[in-house]
């Protein structure tokens, strides 16, 4: 418990330093573009592959479990849509991004810490926490929702392809997609994603920024960052779902 409070204290102290007006906007803009590429664009391929195949598997499994003639086949489209929009795209993709992006952030900042690059920034008179972490958080908050919306679209295409192989007619599948569609589901998914993006970028940066030691410590920070971010994502997933949907 004491350890948890210690980490929380350090986290909030760091965040107070992070959230500050950039020292030079032209440098911040350059950093932001770089971070959008590292944090967001480099994950597009992974998101597309995962979403397509998971979408396909969801629809095949749904079709397999709805073999009763009493159940309409448009249910495959409906179930795939809701599974992808409500849970898979925002939560599962965020968990995967916690692994990919989170470990990358923690190890990058951790390496800079152990090789005194962060000290060099401080000595130059630069707020190192803000300079290194703020662009990553902004990039994640703004880019992750696009990734999640992309995931929904590709996932649905995957579900359609999977549905075809399970003999679900395209017209039935599209009917299921449209059936009682509530656009708020997308807003809900985006709200969750924004929270998850903040958790992934800030928690991973926290572990990287407070790395002490050498190469082993960098690896440990990276692992701890992924584990902590994943647990927090699951916890906030529950809390946000409870707050928003109920």
């Amino acid at each position: 418990m004491t350890k948890l409070l210690h980490h929380l204290g350090l986290y909030f102290i760091m965040m107070k330093k992070v959230i500050s007006i950039p020292e030079k906007w032209s440098v911040f803009r350059k950093q932001l573009v770089l971070e959008i590429e590292k944090v967001g664009l480099n994950s597009v391929g992974l998101v597309i592959i995962l979403s397509f195949f998971v979408g396909a598997v969801i629809s095949i499994q749904t079709a397999f479990n709805m073999s009763s003639p009493l159940l309409p086949s448009y249910l495959v489209g409906l179930a795939s849509r809701d599974s992808l929009i409500l849970e898979f795209s925002p939560t599962m993709i965020s968990l995967i991004l916690a692994g990919k992006v989170g470990s990358s952030i923690a190890s990058e900042i951790g390496s800079m810490r152990v090789t005194e690059q962060i000290d060099a920034l401080e000595i130059m008179g630069i707020n190192s926490a803000s300079f290194l972490i703020f662009p990553k958080i902004i990039a994640a908050i703004f880019f992750f929702p696009f990734l999640i919306i992309l995931s929904m679209g590709i996932g649905i295409i995957g579900a359609w392809v999977g549905g075809l192989s399970a003999d679900v007619a395209t017209a039935d599948f599209i009917g299921g997609l449209k059936y009682e569609f509530n656009p708020f589901y997308i807003t809900y998914a985006v709200i969750k994603t924004v929270f998850f993006a903040f958790i992934i970028s800030s928690v991973s940066a926290y572990y990287g920024y407070h790395t002490k030691g050498g190469a082993i410590a960098v690896g440990k920070s990276s692992t701890t960052a992924v584990v902590s971010s994943s647990i927090l994502i699951l916890l906030f997933n529950y809390l946000l779902t409870d707050i928003i949907l109920s």
């Binding site: 440098v27 005194e116 690059q117 060099a120 000595i123 008179g125």
Partner: protein, 253 residues
Amino acid sequence: MIEVRNIEKHFGNNYVLKNVSFIFEKGKTNLIIGESGSGKTTLIKILIGLHKIDSGAVLFDGINFNAIKTKEQRILRQEIGMLFQAGALYDSMTVEENIMFPLSMFTDKTEEEKLNRVNFCLKRVNLEGKNNLLPAELSGGMTKRVAIARAIVMQPKYLLCDEPNSGLDPKTAIIIDNLIQEITKEYNITTIVNTHDMNSVMEIGENIAFINHGEIWWSGNKDELLNSENTELNNFVFASKLFKRLKQEDEKC
């Protein structure tokens, strides 16, 4: 000039610095020497504000670093150039970007002006034309020289060097030592070098502080060092057979 007054620092129950007072003079290469674990790295980290002191004061030309606001400390830090033991160059940036970085952060110079300044600094450290290399492509000596170029790009008033010769062969070490001394004289800045390399001491030691068990046991210049009667200092400086023999020959003369 940098002055430390009655500095005390401890980590837990371990006292690292005890009542340390010293004046690092302007226009001279000031050396902090001592065994590993004697407290010299802690002292240099205190000077640059990476460690907070328990008591005492650090004065940069009369300005008490610990008594001013964080924002003012940041401005003061822009006048300090620091050379880290391993260089601490930014991995993702080229040599040119590394040196240009402080200029981009703190000045409104045009790209052309910044590039001219970078090229001037690279020329000063004999690395002309190496602009587009990445830190991973540099040798140990080149890394140190790029770090020196980055440290002087903002024309600092103070240059702090943490073991600049570690990991370098004796010939390159002398080149780095001489470069540091030349820059000190050329820009008339206060330079502090933290070292346990006796070649450096004999080469550039103009104002030396010997730290032992967290206290300053001796101070003077390289000539005074040779004639010192301080046993602890002699045990440290003349630990190698070569230096012992040199001292004996010096005494015979």
